[in-house]
Amino acid sequence: MPAKLVVDRLSHHYPDEYTGEDVHALDQVSLSVEDGEFSAVVGPSGCGKTTLLNILAGLLPHTEGSVQVDGKEVQGPGPDRGVVFQEHAILPWRTVARNIGHGLEIQGIPKSEREQKVQEFIDLVGLSGFEERYPHELSGGMKQRCALARTLCANPVVMLMDEPFAAVDAQTRITLQEELNRIAIATRKTILFITHNVDEAAFLGDRCFIFSRRPGKLKATVKIDVPREKRIWKDLLSEKAYTDPRDEILRLVREEVFDDEE
């Protein structure tokens, strides 16, 4: 069976209308993610991670190279690929419940069926009691959880996540990471997860892709061989199967940061 996501020699340039100089964001990136695999992407700021995600989501057309999902070339956005955006994409004019049920509403699922599903995800991300609140009444972490549930509830085959936990406090972050791991076990979704945080990448990923500075190239791939069920923070911190690849990722990332200072 071919991989779920296949990116082949993908490059991307943003034209610049003002200076006339193109921004070269991605350079000959090739990678693939297997069905049900959790892949993490780390790399310095501005290396093209969001660009890659937007191309996979079909929001940004690609001109050089190929991008396939389920063996089909990506041509536009679709409900098979759910996205958790770097900025919270929850609609301010919808309550928490209606935001989370939005995907099902678009799919035309009848209301009664929808409500049951929505409640399930509200409970999952711990937003019970806030169903009828509007997003501006939530804290940053709650908004993030709402955004996560909003994407999950639409039940996509592939989840593309762009630094979803960047804006939450350390405790919430740990909870959300373990929650996401549970969700990954339960749903066996194929996930591409962008992050700046090396611990997070090693904790969540089956594999971690490390990108170089702009123009973003795939610099290395690190495998993390820890069964999903064992990924609980308090057990993992001293586990060699976790710490070794984490240190390896950290080394590779540091190389990128300090490269030109030598």
Partner: protein
């Protein structure tokens, strides 16, 4: 405890101390104005031909309601009554212009906001029309439509439509891309994006557009009625002034202001409160 104290406590309980204070502060300038007006009549600083006594304004309602059986008929807005007739025609024009102007302004504004091609086609004519909207059209409109309903409605629509169009356009453009992207990645089509992203996202701006268009439109209407109308409050003021019936002019001006305040307070502000304030999309004054 005196009756006054009881009443005061009752009011405070009913409205809340903060709000009561706000309302009271807001009425002070009006009370001052009314007092000065009354003083002027008592001291005869300016003669009644300039500033009529307050009581005569009350009487003007009756004079203007000739043929109507007393205050009851006036208040029940019977159409034969001259005064209510004027109010009704002004209100009718405003209502009609909103019924036509809001849906068409929003529709074209959304189209121009989401499509480059529509924007390129409509924006220049919009800027052109906006520059001459309002009373600059009156002479031409009289030539085209004569005096009466069509002319006044044309002036009013010209103001209302373009303001709502431009505000909707700007509102749609200001909606963060990520909302649209999020609906698209969930499989939402164009209609879902319009109805679930563009229109609610542009609503703060649309509401501003409606408020502005009511404000400007109301003024344009009064001016249009003066020159090109055959009824309405503007027309009434104009005729009364020509006949030196200063109390009728005062009455007309007061009614214009009061009706505007009523629409703003009873219609537009609650609309704002129930939508964009609820969604946390505007600054809440308190």
């Amino acid at each position: 405890m005196s009756v006054l104290q009881t009443a005061s406590i009752g009011l405070q309980k009913r409205f809340g101390r903060q709000r009561l204070r706000k309302i009271l502060l807001g009425t002070i300038p009006f009370v001052v104005l009314l007092a000065m007006w009354q003083m002027n009549t008592a001291m005869e600083w300016l003669p009644p031909v300039y500033i009529p006594p307050m009581a005569s304004i009350w009487e003007a309602i009756y004079t203007l309601s000739e043929g109507c059986a007393g205050a009851g008929a006036v208040l029940s807005m019977q159409y034969e009554c001259l005064f209510t007739n004027h109010i009704l025609s002004s209100l009718g024009r405003v209502g009609l212009s909103l019924v036509i102007g809001i849906p068409s302004g929003i529709t074209l504004g959304v189209l121009a906001g989401m499509s480059r091609r529509f924007a390129h086609a409509l924006e220049p004519i919009g800027v052109f029309a906006n520059a001459i909207s309002g009373i600059a059209w009156v002479p031409l409109a009289i030539v085209w439509f004569g005096t009466g309903w069509l002319t006044t409605l044309f002036i009013l629509l010209n103001t209302v439509f373009w303001l709502i169009f431009f505000n909707t356009l700007l509102g749609v453009r200001g909606v963060p891309r990520v909302y649209e992207n999020s609906v698209m990645t969930m499989g939402g089509g164009r209609w879902a994006i319009i109805s679930q992203v563009y229109i609610p996202g542009a609503l703060p701006s649309i509401v501003t557009g409606v408020r502005m268009s009511m404000g400007f439109g109301w003024r344009a209407l009064i001016a249009a009625e003066m020159i090109g109308g055959d009824s309405g409050l503007g027309f009434m003021i104009f005729v009364s002034a020509a006949e030196y019936k200063i109390e009728e002019v005062f009455l007309g001006v007061l009614v214009i202001a009061i009706m505007w305040m009523i629409t703003d307070r009873l219609l537009l502000i609650p609309l704002e409160r129930w939508t964009i304030q609820r969604w946390g999309m505007v600054w809440r004054p308190d």
